[in-house]
């Protein structure tokens, strides 16, 4: 599993690996929003948590199909499937790599972009916490979607349609956590719900993804 993780992270940083794609998309969306909304600082402060979370979610979605599609194209997926590494472990390692390559940079960049949206001071720590807890769920659920569409050419559209509804709970509680943090309210409930979603996804999705990979590799 360690080998797969290291390989995927290495590949992401090599030429054409797609590192920075999600980050650049995140940056562009968040920078463009104030231009679209106008310079009303009260409105920007109000929508900042939601915009940041929606942008992070879409940025994450952008690179999902690469999780398995690249390995499928060059033939390493069937070879990995017949290796001693269980497919569940493969899914876990590849989602972890996806999280490090997309979720982690988004989490680190988010506070700087919160500043652009005039986010309230109290929200910054919760923005980082919510993304740190929430992006693993995005990667895990996304890996399941990527496994479902692995054999399809141009499966990106189908993948988005399948995965977006599954992302909704993470988005609701993630954005709510930041909003409550900004307003100085108690964050216990969204924090716990977000953690539950992530833990559930990490526990269940590797099995679901491995099962559909097995069917797709037939």
């Amino acid at each position: 599993m360690k080998a797969v993780f290291i390989r995927d992270v290495t590949l992401a940083f090599r030429a054409g690996g797609g590192f920075g794609l999600a980050l650049a998309f995140f940056l562009i969306v968040v920078i463009l929003v104030p231009f679209g909304i106008g310079p009303d600082r009260a409105i920007l402060a109000r929508i900042a948590p939601g915009i940041l979370w929606v942008a992070a979610l879409l940025a994450c979605l952008l690179s999902l199909d690469r999780i398995f599609a690249l390995d499928y194209e060059d033939g390493s997926l069937p070879l990995l499937a017949t290796s001693p590494l269980p497919l569940e472990g493969l899914v876990l390692a590849k989602s972890a790599a996806h999280m490090v390559v997309t979720g982690l940079p988004l989490t680190i960049a988010a506070p700087a972009l919160g500043f652009l949206l005039n986010m309230q001071a109290g929200a910054y720590p919760w923005l980082v916490v919510s993304l740190a807890i929430g992006t693993p769920a995005l990667s895990m659920i996304g890996a399941f979607g990527a496994a479902l569409t692995v054999g399809l050419r141009r499966g990106g559209l189908l993948l988005s349609l399948l995965v977006l509804p599954l992302y909704v709970p993470t988005l609701i509680f993630g954005a709510d956590l930041v909003r409550r943090g900004a307003d100085g309210l108690s964050v216990t409930v969204p924090l716990m719900m977000l953690s539950v979603i992530t833990l559930g996804a990490v526990a269940l999705m590797p099995f679901a993804a491995a099962a559909v990979l097995r069917i797709n590799l037939r």
């Binding site: 080998a3 090599r14 060059d74 033939g75 390493s76 070879l79 017949t82 037939r218």
Partner: protein, 204 residues
């Protein structure tokens, strides 16, 4: 006996392709699969490797003893030759012995990115993977595609060593590898087309 196949029927896309195959491959022996394009050589190898379920029949071999190599090499273009080999070695829990680079004539290419290799060099890299994972029973699908005569000889030499060491192999190929191995023509086993498989793929 390292591989025993009994009454195997395998299917592609829910339609049975080959039916009622039975054969043994003892340790130290190879079996060459012959047959025209589309007869089901790849389907049979994928079924043997466990990538797809058989419609009926049994495949018996020791657990965790087989390896599969397909048309594609599973080589990552953005990694170097050494990195590619090291990855597969780690997956199987082995080291990369230096001798592998000589065996498959990859010595001068160690630090080259796999994306810059020629098709034949990539193939040699793919075959070197087989040597380093040390599996006894190999299922090889057209291992010599895009290899030149010299590389085919290198591969045949390595395969001979693998067999002498007690390994075995089922190889689908159209050329003569120069191995002393029985050949199995798949044409007599072609399934009659009205037989439909038990797979749900036909409904998808």
């Amino acid at each position: 006996m390292s591989l025993r196949v009994t009454d195997l029927t395998c299917a592609r896309g829910g339609v049975s392709v080959l039916s009622d195959m039975s054969f043994d491959v003892p340790a130290g022996a190879a079996l060459i699969l012959r047959g025209p394009n589309g007869v089901g050589k790849t389907t049979l190898l994928r079924t043997l490797a466990g990538l797809q379920p058989a419609l009926s029949g049994r495949v018996e071999m020791a657990k965790e003893s087989s390896a599969y190599a397909s048309h594609a090499d599973g080589v990552k273009q953005a990694l170097t030759v050494t990195e590619n080999l090291r990855f597969w070695a780690e997956i199987y829990g082995h080291d990369v012995p230096d001798a592998i680079y000589q065996t498959f004539d990859l010595d001068d290419l160690r630090q080259r990115l796999a994306g810059t290799l020629s098709a034949g060099q990539k193939r040699r890299l793919g075959l070197a993977r087989l040597a380093l994972i040390k599996r006894r029973v190999l299922f090889l699908d057209e291992p010599t595609v895009s290899l030149d005569a010299f590389s085919v000889k290198l591969f045949a030499q390595w395969m001979q060593g693998h067999l002498t060491g007690g390994g075995s192999a089922v190889i689908a190929t159209h050329i003569d590898l120069g191995l002393d191995a029985p050949e199995l023509d798949l044409t007599p086993y072609i399934a009659t087309q009205d037989e439909t498989g038990g797979s749900d793929e036909a409904f998808l």
